[in-house]
């Protein structure tokens, strides 16, 4: 479980490195508690783009309602990736 979360975090950081509005310097100390809006100054419009890139990176699909409920912390998106993987495995 811990390994899975760390693997996802590493992949997520790779995704964030491709996002123009994310300052690479702020990616050095990202943890699950890092808040995209408060700590990384990510524009709220960018969160949807990040979610779309995460889908591609991890080969998963989020539902529209997932994104409505998504919080702004790194752990929230990790939780969502795990949920999407679980849903895909159950299908």
């Amino acid at each position: 479980m811990e390994n899975e979360r760390q693997e996802i975090l590493n992949g997520l950081i790779e995704v964030l490195r491709t996002v123009r509005t994310v300052d690479p310097a702020r990616l050095e100390n990202v943890t699950e508690e890092t808040d995209f809006l408060a700590d990384m100054n990510t524009p709220s419009t960018e969160l949807i783009n990040i979610a779309a890139k995460v889908e591609q990176k991890f080969g998963i699909e989020f539902e529209d309602d997932d994104i409505d409920r998504l919080g702004s912390k790194v752990k929230d998106i990790i939780d969502l990736i795990i949920l999407a993987r679980k849903r895909a495995a159950e299908e």
Binding site: P43, S44, T45, I48, N49, I67, D68
Partner: protein
């Protein structure tokens, strides 16, 4: 049943806004998933206390209503197979962001303008549009004028020279949010 496009639809049936806040009279062209053109005539209510001139901030709102809100509602309706009524019950349109906007001219009371927008991003009920606002030559039948318009012409803003450029807008972004979800945030 979702109409083929919004051209024959009354904007008041698609959008949530009441008459004081609705800044869209008619859809004059629509290519689902690509772009749209909506028209509005500046009314007394829009220009009073503002020297008979339509406000710049209202141009952004009018553009958003004609483009991201209308096309978002149309696509969500088609995807979810909702009726307009159900859509209005379930969702609220949220203004998420405005990119670069520059104004080149102005609109006075009684003048008609068109908002021409094309989709640059649409996913998870969030839509971004780029586009322009043009003042319409007086007396022009817009539905007839745009009857053979194409996606390509929209993207190149192909118009007769007597349309006057009023504003250029980029990154106008909004999102349809379920009212049920919003209750958790408000």
């Amino acid at each position: 049943m979702t109409p083929e496009d919004l051209r024959t639809v009354n904007p008041a049936e698609v959008l949530l806004y009441g008459p004081k806040k609705l800044l869209l009279d008619q859809y004059v062209w629509h290519s689902p998933g690509v772009g749209i053109i909506g028209a509005y005539e500046a009314k007394e209510k829009d220009t009073e206390d503002h020297y008979d001139v339509f406000r710049g901030v209202d141009m952004i709102e009018a553009f958003a209503q004609a483009t991201i809100v209308s096309m978002g509602a149309y696509l969500e309706r088609a995807k979810g197979k909702y009726t307009d009524e159900e859509l209005r019950e379930m969702f609220l349109p949220l203004f998420i962001g405005v990119g670069n906007v520059s104004f080149h001219h102005y609109i006075k009371k009684g003048e008609t303008f068109i908002s021409m927008g094309h989709i640059t991003f649409y996913k998870f009920r969030q839509m971004s549009c780029d586009g322009r606002i043009y003042k319409v030559p007086p007396g022009l039948d817009l539905v007839d004028y745009f009857s053979n318009y194409t996606d390509e012409k929209l993207k190149n803003y192909e118009l007769a020279p007597d349309f006057k450029l009023v504003a250029n807008l980029e990154g106008i972004t909004g999102r349809a949010m379920k009212k049920e979800t919003l209750k958790n945030f408000i």
